[in-house]
């Protein structure tokens, strides 16, 4: 079992966190998010991202607005809501704690 397979479930669970981080940076549309993720270990596809974004929107973490594009029909550009920003801050704190634990455990 490769490390990639071992961490499959953890990576999947972290995806929402990472999408929050990406959306926090600037207004993005789905292809932007995919491009940013594709350079990392968290590379994913539309089939996963669209349902995830719709769930996050339903939970009030992100919202979108339609913007004209130079090629083709208008696109949905996503941004964080106030609730999403709060959630991101909490998650970052929590993540800091976890990674601290991983680093320090077992060391003397």
């Amino acid at each position: 079992m490769s490390l990639d397979e071992k961490f499959f479930a953890i990576k999947k669970g972290l995806l929402e966190f990472l999408v929050l981080k990406i959306v926090a940076g600037e207004k993005v549309y789905v292809a932007d998010i995919l491009r940013q993720l594709s350079e990392t270990e968290f590379s994913t596809q539309e089939g996963t991202l669209y349902p995830l974004l719709s769930k996050m929107r339903r939970e009030g973490l992100v919202d979108y607005e339609w913007k004209e594009s130079d090629a083709g029909p208008p696109r949905k550009y996503y941004e964080l809501t106030a609730k999403g920003r709060e959630h991101l801050r909490e998650t970052l704190d929590y993540w800091g704690k976890i990674s601290g634990t991983v680093k320090n455990l077992g060391q003397k």
Partner: protein, 393 residues
């Protein structure tokens, strides 16, 4: 040389090779099935359609106007399988068929996705009063199959007609655009809906009736034929009953025999089980052209197989049905009860038993749940098979 099919994705027309079209349809069908119960299903699907359209557009230029089957599969592979949300799957399983009913906070805002579905009669493309059309739209099944089901119901149980007319009276017809949208649960004219209508030969049928007279004449003849069938079957049924009656002990006073209470559910259970086995056989024959993986002997076309299957079922079900009729007849004081009434009660009882069995299977057998999940796709496939066969003739 390949056939090309034009589709509408997010408001733009694309031309696909036929193989690519089939792949895209299968992908969207699977996506819709996976997102069952998700209040934003329609919105996600239209997002996905638009994303696919964008990828298609990147492949085309003024000299290349058709997306090949290979390119479609490449695009679909790039999209990746649609994943149901981890949180939503549990909810979807719990609420079961209650699609769209669970969208309290999202429905309040501007969003068009979680529109509740309602059963309406749909006149567009209807044959008689739009009952079958409405059921088809509601369950996302080809209306031709619903009509076929009603005809089969009528032939074997007679109650098809009664159920049909009852529904024609009770079920409201969709008149306003909102009601029409609610009939199929579709907020927008998605590619899937477009494909469904195109496949259903909806536009062809309109072409083949150039004027109102021809259409009306055809309708009249159809109704007449149905009436003829009904009387013929009723006669047959009453003859069957007449020949059965002498073998049954003379009438008791109402509800006299203690065995009746045991016999009736037993007969109903047997009849329901038989019906389900028969339905499974029918679906497998329609969808794959083989009976549970067993191919038909060469030289026997699918439609002959279908008729044979119906006869075999009728052969086994007839005694059971007659026995149950006789139980009703005697258990409820006989002569006061006329035949049509017994038809209805009989049909309701075995339908209830069949429904309970299906529910139990769905609840306790993962395979059965899977099968129910794939049913819409199987029905589409079956409709295609029947139509191909019809066109070949």
């Amino acid at each position: 040389m390949n056939k090309v099919i034009t589709i509408n994705l997010g408001g733009t027309a694309y031309q696909l090779e036929e193989g690519g079209f089939d792949a895209l349809r299968a992908y969207l069908d699977t996506a819709a099935a996976r997102l069952q119960g998700n209040p934003d299903r329609d919105e996600i699907i239209s997002d996905i359609e638009q994303a696919i359209g964008e990828k298609f557009r990147a492949l085309l230029n003024s000299y290349k106007t058709v997306v090949t089957a290979k390119e479609v599969s490449a695009v679909l592979a790039d999209m990746g399988p649609i994943e149901a949300e981890p949180g939503a799957t549990a909810g979807a399983a719990a609420t079961g068929t209650g699609t769209g009913s669970a969208a309290p906070e999202s429905g309040a805002t501007h969003q068009p996705g979680g529109r509740p579905k309602r059963l309406y009669r749909v006149y567009e493309g209807a044959m008689i009063s739009g009952v079958c059309n409405g059921i088809g739209a509601y369950a996302n099944i080809d209306p031709t199959l619903v009509r076929l089901a009603f005809v089969v119901l009528t032939i074997f149980w007679g109650a098809g007609i009664a159920v049909y007319f009852a529904m024609a009276i009770i079920v409201p017809s969709a008149r306003s655009p909102e009601e029409k949208a609610a009939a199929s649960g579709a907020a927008r004219f998605t590619a899937q809906e477009f494909i469904r209508r195109a496949r259903a030969g909806y536009y062809d049928a309109m072409k083949s009736f150039p004027d109102r007279h021809a259409r009306r004449e055809w309708k009249r003849r159809f109704k007449q034929e149905m009436r003829g069938w009904r009387t013929a079957f009723r006669q047959e049924a009453s003859q069957g009953a007449a020949s059965f009656r002498p073998h049954w002990p003379p009438p008791w006073t109402p509800g006299a025999h203690p065995g009746l209470g045991v016999a009736l559910p037993l007969f109903s259970l047997l009849h329901g089980t038989l019906t389900i086995i028969w339905l499974c056989a029918l679906i497998s024959l329609l969808a794959t052209g083989a009976l549970f993986g067993l191919p038909l002997p060469s030289g026997i076309p699918v439609w002959v197989g279908l008729i044979l299957l119906m006869f075999v079922f009728g052969f086994f079900a007839w005694p059971l049905k007659m026995a149950r009729r006789a139980v009703y007849y005697h258990g409820f004081g006989g002569p006061g009860w006329t035949w049509p009434f017994i038809f209805v009660v009989d049909a309701l009882v075995w339908l209830a038993f069949a429904a309970v069995l299906i529910w139990l299977a769905r609840h306790y057998l993962p395979q059965a749940r899977e099968a129910v999940h794939h049913l819409p796709a199987v029905f589409h496939e079956a409709a295609d098979n029947v139509r191909d066969w019809w066109n070949k003739k």
